[in-house]
Symmetry: C2
């Protein structure tokens, strides 16, 4: 199962052309995005740390802890993203355990990538 | 609300004396722990990166992605921990949205700490 299966028929799709900044580090953020098509680069402190693929999510950190964006997200190619606000996020967590598990797995994947940098 | 409120009356409590290794980096892991009392040090690649406080969790990464332990956990003081296996974890995710949100918030907190190291 892939988050695209849940969100691909969502009416609320945002398109970003290649090289557009989707959100910027240190700004307030109240949306996360499911990537339907295209790739998204994630930059922290001037370093590109990850490329988000279709079916994956980006921007979940600011939504989960209501803090500022920890990273800048830039469309690596033309992208189609489904925005998820807090209300929809909480609905998904309550109604769809798979969604919660998927978000957790993505966060853990990112932590492992970071651990390998810090511990290297 | 605090995870101790959910787990404090759990019958399955494990006690670890100060300085005992609770789990070791690179070993298989199928339990996470809720810290009821005491503090737990988290070490990655020979560096102490975090001290887990009561009400917080440790060891969730290996449980969530079924991979090896990314870190070593050592009892900083005498500790009382509630172990959570995959079955209980999935039950909690399905039945208690607060639990999922709490796990996500802890993962995000750890990612922000890591981001500040990588981006510094």
């Amino acid at each position: 199962m892939d988050l695209r299966e849940i969100f691909q028929n969502n009416e609320n799709v945002q398109e970003f052309n290649k090289s557009i900044t989707i959100f910027a580090e240190e700004t307030p953020g109240d949306l996360m995005y499911v990537v339907l098509d295209g790739e998204v680069e994630v930059w922290v402190g001037g370093k590109m740390i990850e490329i988000i693929q279709p079916g994956d999510i980006v921007g979940e950190m600011a939504l989960i802890d209501s803090n500022k964006r920890s990273a800048t997200a830039i469309a690596k190619s033309d992208c189609r993203l489904v925005p998820i606000d807090e209300k929809l996020f909480l609905f998904m967590v309550q109604q769809t355990p798979f969604f919660s598990l998927h978000v957790m797995r993505i966060l853990v994947k990112r932590l492992r990538n970071m651990d390998s940098r810090v511990g290297a």
